[in-house]
């Protein structure tokens, strides 16, 4: 096992930050190229007229997931040294629902609003102002809701993964995720043909 390179090799912060900057440039470039700088294009996914977000996101998840599974199966990537989002089930679900409301109302999510701002979308600047306010409010009240956020009502399950939860190997779960994504792509193309036209008429 020699990866994650920076963890195993104990790289200095500065090098990791430089690499993070470069990866960020690639990420921002890809988001903008796919059309994620435009809030309306993003929001039209919720009316089944433009499913670019779904297609891009699940292509990305399937690609990275397959890479992680293969690299760890080869014995190159040590999953124990890799960050896996810890599961705090209830704040995760409630927070997700709140984010969903914000997505439908505001059109952007945090990363895409940054790309919107970079390409002079004025609504992205207002959205970012809202994000900063929402994060500020959360930071101020976080200690008050600690039992839900961290404590006994948080549904904490540690580094729980989907394969552990279902009781199948990562390879099998990964295979089903890819099948699900492919089925979803087919469905997304069908939905866009069905509902997409009226979006173009009023665009």
């Amino acid at each position: 096992m020699f990866a994650p390179l920076a963890v195993i090799g104990e790289w200095k912060d500065g090098i990791v930050w430089l690499i993070s900057f470069i990866l960020g440039v690639g990420w921002g470039f890809v988001l903008e190229s796919a059309g994620f700088g435009n809030s309306r294009k993003l929001a039209l996914q919720f009316y089944l007229r433009d499913l670019t977000v779904f297609k891009t996101m699940f292509s990305a998840i399937a690609t990275a997931m397959a890479g992680i599974i293969f690299l760890s199966a080869f014995g190159w990537l040590d999953l124990e040294s890799m960050f896996i989002n810890p599961t705090y089930l209830w704040p995760g679900i409630i927070g997700g629902l709140i984010m969903g409301v914000g997505f439908a109302v505001g059109g952007y999510c945090p990363g895409t609003s940054m790309v919107g701002l970079a390409t002079l979308k004025v609504d992205a600047a207002f959205y970012l102002t809202g994000i900063l306010f929402g994060i500020f409010v959360f930071g101020e009240i976080a200690p008050l809701i600690d039992s839900f956020f961290n404590g006994k009502y948080s549904g904490f399950m540690g580094r729980a993964t989907l394969p552990q939860f279902i009781g199948l190997s990562a390879g099998v779960v990964g295979f089903f995720v890819i099948l699900m994504a492919l089925g979803g792509f087919w469905g997304a193309e069908w939905l866009e043909r069905r509902f997409g036209k009226s979006a173009h008429r009023s665009a």
Binding site: G24, I93, G96
Partner: protein
């Protein structure tokens, strides 16, 4: 300059997946956006009142004592996102002042709802410990159980809300 058409979502998705995989392979961490905003907020609060940050256990985690909230890879990553978006926007003719919304509302109404939507998303992203990037994408790829639950909740919340705010977009 007439804007160029958007690139294929599938090609861009695979590229994004490779960037995410490279991030995991090199740094052991994924991508994240809301974490950088959190750190920026803590930095501002700390510059105004370090005691306030120290007294709040949540804020202190990011910037308590001698901890510099901005000394974190997420800050450099989000600056990169801005630069990458700018480069693509300039190259494609999409670098121009725009306010995007449906035809039934005014620009000012869009501004108001952008702030409200952003506030919800910002709050929710901290409750769920990350946003569409740090949780749905990153945790989705590493098959984190909680991240998949959050991802489903984001889409459930958005689709459930969409009907009531359709005037904003269609």
């Amino acid at each position: 300059m007439q804007p160029k058409p958007y690139s294929s979502p599938y090609v861009m998705g695979v590229l994004l997946g490779l960037i995410l995989l490279a991030s995991f392979f090199i740094t052991g961490q994924g991508l994240g956006a809301s974490g950088a905003f959190q750190r920026a907020i803590v930095a501002v609060e700390k510059s105004i009142s370090p005691e306030h940050v120290n007294q709040n256990s949540y804020l202190a985690h990011y910037g308590g004592g001698k901890e510099n909230p901005l000394a974190n890879y997420l800050i450099f990553q989000i600056i990169g996102v801005f630069v990458g978006g700018l480069i693509s926007g300039v190259m494609s003719g999409r670098f121009r002042v725009e306010i995007n919304h449906g035809p039934q509302i005014t620009d000012r109404q869009r501004w108001l709802f952008a702030i409200i939507g952003g506030a919800f998303f910002g709050f929710g992203s901290k409750l769920a410990r990350g946003c569409t990037s740090g949780v749905a994408l990153t945790g989705g790829a590493s098959l984190s159980l909680g991240s998949w639950a959050t991802m489903m909740a984001i889409f459930a919340g958005a689709y459930a809300t969409a009907y009531f705010v359709r005037r904003l977009w269609i």
